[in-house]
C-alpha cells in the first residue's frame, strides 16, 4: 500500500458517483475502486447500528483490496460510521460531511446557511453541528427534501414537477435570508442547475462532492500518498445486478462506468 494504491470510495448505491466524479476531476491520476452496496440501498431510512455494520463490511472489502484511503461517499454512512472507521483503520478516512460543512462555512458572508438532505441526514443534525464547529456564529436552516432522490433517479431534473417540488422545499429557506446553500446529499448535484435557478444568484451553492474531493487530495498530500504520474485504473463493485448499475451510473458519473463486478458483502453474496 503506497502512492500507487487505489483510493476506495463507497456508498449505498449510485449517489456516491457524484463524489467519485469530483475525485476523478480533482485527482485524474489516482486509481479508484468504487463500491456501491446496491443490494441494500438506501441507507437513509435504516438505523444507525445497521448502517454502521454495513459500512464496516464495505471498509473491510476495500482494505482487502489494498486501498490507501477510504472516502465515505454517503451522508448517512458518514454520520453513523466515520468515527468508528477512523478509529479502526490506519489509512485516512474521509467523509462527505466535514468538507461540505467547512466549505459552506467559508463561503457564507452573512453566516446564514441553508442545508438540504434526506430526512435521515437532516434529522441527525450532523451537518448543522459540523457547520457550527467550523463557524460558531453561523445560523443554520435545515430542510429535508426526500423527493429529490426520486427525481434525480427518475431523471426529472427540470420541468414543472421538479421545479414545483424545488420551490416548495427551498422557498422557506430562501425567505430566511440564507446566502449559502449546502447540498447535503450526493444525489442533489444532478438538480443543481434547477436549484440554482430557484434560489437565485444571491445564494451560493456548495456541494459536498467537490469539497470532499479537495479534502481527499489534501489528506493524501499530507501523508505523501499522492499517485505518481501513470495511468489511473478505475474499478466498480456492486452488491446487486451490475447491468442495472451501469445503466444509471452514466448520469451520476458523467461517463460510462466500465469494469463493473459483483462484490460479496455481509450476507449479500452474488
Amino acid at each position: 500500500m503506497g502512492g500507487d494504491s487505489p483510493i476506495g470510495v463507497f456508498d449505498s448505491g449510485v449517489g456516491g458517483l457524484t463524489v467519485l466524479r469530483a475525485l476523478h476531476r480533482s485527482l485524474p491520476r489516482e486509481s479508484t475502486i468504487y463500491l456501491g452496496d446496491t443490494a441494500r440501498v438506501p441507507y437513509g431510512p435504516k438505523s444507525p447500528d445497521t448502517v454502521l455494520r454495513y459500512a464496516r463490511e464495505a471498509a473491510a472489502f476495500l482494505t482487502g483490496r489494498g486501498v490507501k484511503g477510504i472516502v465515505i461517499a454517503c451522508n448517512t454512512a458518514t454520520a453513523h460510521a466515520k468515527r468508528a472507521l477512523t478509529d479502526a483503520l490506519e489509512i485516512p478516512v474521509i467523509g462527505v460531511v466535514e468538507p461540505g460543512a467547512a466549505a459552506a462555512a467559508a463561503a457564507s458572508r452573512s453566516g446564514a446557511i441553508g442545508v438540504i438532505g434526506t430526512r435521515g441526514t437532516i434529522e441527525s443534525g450532523t451537518y448543522e453541528r459540523a457547520i457550527l464547529r467550523a463557524r460558531p456564529d453561523a445560523s443554520v436552516f435545515s430542510e429535508p427534501c426526500p423527493l429529490f432522490v426520486a427525481l434525480a433517479e427518475e431523471g426529472w431534473v427540470d420541468g414543472d414537477v421538479a421545479e414545483l417540488t424545488t420551490r416548495r422545499y427551498l422557498e422557506p429557506l430562501v425567505s430566511r435570508g440564507i446566502d449559502t446553500l449546502l447540498l447535503g446529499c450526493t444525489h442533489y448535484p444532478l438538480l443543481a442547475p434547477l436549484i440554482e435557478r430557484v434560489v437565485g444568484p444571491e445564494v451560493e451553492l456548495v456541494d459536498s462532492a467537490t469539497a470532499t474531493a479537495r479534502a481527499t487530495a489534501a489528506r493524501l498530500d499530507e501523508r505523501g500518498l499522492a499517485a505518481a504520474d501513470r495511468e489511473a485504473r478505475r474499478e466498480y463493485y456492486v452488491t446487486d445486478d451490475e447491468a442495472r448499475f451501469s445503466e444509471i451510473a452514466d448520469r451520476f458519473l458523467g461517463a460510462p462506468a466500465r469494469r463493473v463486478a459483483r462484490a460479496s458483502l455481509g450476507d449479500v453474496s452474488p
Copy 2:
C-alpha cells in the same frame, strides 16, 4: 397449525400494510403476523435472485411462527418468489399479482386495461402476463410511476406536485382509452383519491390490496382454515428500527400498529 393460527403477511417495508389493512377489513376475526423487511427495503431495484433469497428468509421466519398461510404483500417479491414459495411450502401462498390481475380483467368492459407500478414491476411484465392469462383479448397499457412511492411516503398525496406528477404519468394511459386502471404497487392506494380524480369517472380503479384480501379469504375457506369466532391478535415484526416503522405505519394501515418487535432475518440481526 389450524384455523386459529395466524396469517403471515410480508413485504419489504410499509407498503404491504395496505394489503394488511384490506385483510383486516375482509377478515376481522383472523390473527395476523406482519413482517416488514425494513432493513433491506426496497426490493424493487434488487435482482430477482436477491429478492428470492430475502423472500425465502421471510417465509421461514413466518412458518417458524406457525402461520396457516402466507400473503406476499409485495409486488416484487410476488413476481420473483411466489412460485418457489408455493412449491416449497404446504400452506397456501397468496401473492398480490394474480388477484389484482383477475379483478382488473373482470372489471373491464372494453378490455383496455392500464397497469401502473414501480419500474421493476412494470418492466417484469408480470401484471400484463397475468391479465392476459385471465382475459386473452385484453389490451394492456403499462406505465411505471416511480415517484409515487416517494410521494406516498412523504405524505404528499394531494396538492400541486402530486397532481402534476399524476397527470404526467396517467394522461398518456387515459388517452389510450383504458376503462380500468390497476394499482400494481402497494403504496398506491394512498394516492387513490387523487388518481381517481385525474383519470375521471369513466375509468374504474382496481387495487391489488383489496383483491388479494378477497383471494386470501377464499383460499382459507377452501381449505377449511378460516378462524373461529374469537379475538384476533395482530403482531408486527420489522428488521430495522421499530419506532420508525410505527411512525409511518398509521398512514398505511389506517390505525396504529401495536406490538411491534424486531426480527432477525438473514444477516439482519437486531
